[in-house]
């Protein structure tokens, strides 16, 4: 995997965020303030523009550029959270021109660690962590067990979606949905939903690269 994999991933996220924008807005309107789809779309449009203007950077640097762009354009909570996540992930790769399967795990693990640190959220709080953490753990376990990266990412995407659905019966304990108390129960978390979309986009980008 290389810089093109990252660029394809980011382009894929941009496309899927636009497709799912209204759905994310609806989910967020139910338990937040209805801007998640708009914010993620604005952010990844800017990421794609920034990456298209950069044809020479290695994959780690592209992730850092994407993260910086999200911090600079999204606002809300998802800007700093995904921005820090991609920057932390990018730092794992340094200047290397290509990266191996297990390093992809380390990129995502660093991203997860920075989200949990900045957002002080854990699994079960009804946040993006509910989708991201099982995805990272599944990817690590399947690759360690000898699965191909394509299969492992497929399972990671399933785990992210299962985590996303697991947020429905939860009462939110972080973020704006927590203000609703018990009224947040019964709704799927928009941040976990966009996270599952981002993992699926990674799966497609890696499949395209191999």
């Amino acid at each position: 995997m290389d810089a093109a994999t990252i660029a394809t991933w980011m382009h894929g996220i941009d496309v899927v965020m636009r497709e799912e924008k209204d759905h994310l807005v609806q989910l967020d309107a139910a338990i937040g303030d209805g801007d998640h789809g708009t914010n993620m779309t604005r952010g990844f449009e800017a990421v794609v523009q920034a990456l298209d203007a950069d044809s020479s950077s290695p994959p780690g640097k592209l992730l850092i550029l994407a993260g910086r762009t999200l911090v600079g354009t999204v606002g809300g909570a998802s800007g700093p959270l995904w921005g820090s996540a991609l920057r932390s992930g990018g730092r794992v790769l340094g200047d290397q021109p290509t990266f191996e399967d297990m390093q992809l795990v380390e990129v995502l693990a660093a991203a997860l660690a920075s989200v949990k640190d900045l957002g002080t959220a854990s699994v079960g709080d009804k946040t993006m962590v509910d989708a991201l953490e099982p995805a990272v753990e599944t990817l690590r376990a399947r690759l360690s067990g000898g699965a191909s990266v394509a299969d492992a990412l497929g399972d990671a995407g399933d785990a992210a979606e299962a985590g996303m659905r697991s947020t429905i019966p939860l009462q939110a304990r972080k973020g704006r949905a927590s203000y609703l108390g018990e009224r947040s129960i019964g709704h799927q978390d928009p941040g976990a939903t966009s996270t599952a979309l981002i993992i699926r986009a990674l799966q497609r980008a890696v499949a395209q690269a191999s």
Binding site: V25, A29, A30, G32, D33, G34, D35, T38, N39, R42, V71, G72, T73, V74, G75, G76, A77, S78, G79, P80, L81, L118, G119, Q171, R173, K174, G175, R176, S178, Y179, L180, G181, R183
Partner: protein, 340 residues
């Protein structure tokens, strides 16, 4: 051309440009008070930076006008950082504002307690510190409708924000140092409590749809300022009954000294006329006196809004002599002016 959907009839050119175009209009209306830096998307006091004066900045999502841009000027804020509608601004805006207003005495960031605002201001404060600017941050969290516990993101920052900006702004104008101004913001936050009620939802321009549906005859109790639903629904009763709920929620949490002087702030959410706000104030005044406190100061009007939401919030601030004096001090901003 205005923009109309099934749910929305608003004066817009392009929905995506509503914030920028509104800020340009604010600056065009008040060139004596503020300037608009379009590249950084910040509203800055015209005469900033003022050498030796502690500067105050605040910011947050748009849709709460006149908060915060309408409070930039003499005796209040030095700059405001407006984000997209209901979305916190980005760190680059706060950094640009901090640099634009720093007169060497330090900058206070007044941050409403929302996850996005807190995270983006945190990143900006770190960047400012890297550039050698002294920054303190105070998070405002006065909304008693949110249980402050491990199970929420903490209480929201609502009406106390306006009071803190006015009172601390007066302290800074009077020459107080960074520690003192910071302390004043904290004191206002510590001694203020708020509770809001919605009679309707509101429609963000980008989505064109109301954030929630409120069936006929129902109201939302315990709302914030982003059109988010409240903690529960109730049947719409008389104004006096609704005020009972608001005063009880605020006073039982604030627990003011018996006989305390308080500032009572009856705030409209954007779609409720002054006719009703003064009616509410009359009820609030009576009930506060019955509860054993004296409404010695007040503010009535729509100052921290939620687009066109119909509704109101009550903020009660327990005063002392110093806070009263700072409240009375001159202020001259687009949205608040007396004594100057």
């Amino acid at each position: 051309m205005a923009v109309e959907t099934t749910h929305m009839r608003k004066f817009l050119n392009e929905p995506a440009k509503v914030v920028k175009e509104s800020l340009a209009g604010l600056a065009a209306a008040h060139p004596d008070l503020v300037r608009y830096d379009a590249a950084a998307q910040i509203i800055v006091r015209r005469d900033a930076p003022r050498k030796g004066k502690v500067a105050l900045i605040s910011g947050g999502g748009s849709g709460h006008e006149p908060l915060h841009g309408g409070f930039v000027g003499l005796g209040m804020l030095d700059a405001a950082c407006p984000g997209e509608v209901f979305t916190s601004p980005v760190p680059a805006q706060m950094l640009a504002a901090t640099k634009a207003v720093d007169g060497g005495a330090g900058v206070v960031h007044i941050v409403k307690n929302y996850t996005g605002d807190v995270l983006n201001f945190k990143l900006a404060a770190e960047d400012a510190a890297d550039e050698g600017i002294k920054v303190t941050s105070v998070v405002i969290d006065d909304d008693v409708a949110v249980q402050d516990s491990l199970y929420t993101a903490g209480r929201r920052g609502v009406g106390a924000t306006v009071l803190a900006e006015k009172i601390a702004g007066a302290a800074a104008e009077g020459g107080a140092d960074l520690a003192k101004v910071t302390d004043i913001v904290k004191r206002v936050n510590d001694r203020a409590r708020s509770f809001g009620v919605a009679l309707s939802s509101c429609v963000p321009p980008a989505s064109g749809k109301p954030i929630f549906d409120l069936p006929e005859g129902q109201i939302e109790l315990g709302i914030g300022i982003h059109g988010e639903p409240g903690r529960k629904r109730a049947t719409l009763g008389h104004a006096a009954e609704i005020v009972d709920v608001m005063v009880e929620a605020v006073i039982s949490d604030l627990k003011p000294r018996s006989g305390a002087k308080v500032l009572a702030f009856v705030n409209g959410m954007g779609g409720t006329p002054l006719l009703e706000l003064y009616l509410l104030y009359g009820e609030v005044d009576k009930k506060l006196r019955a509860a054993g406190v004296e409404p010695a100061r007040n503010l009535v009007g729509s100052y921290i809004t939620s687009l066109e939401m119909a509704g109101a919030s009550l903020t009660v601030l327990e005063l002392d002599e110093e806070l009263s004096k700072l409240w009375d001090a001159p202020v001259h901003t687009p949205a608040l002016r007396w004594g100057a």
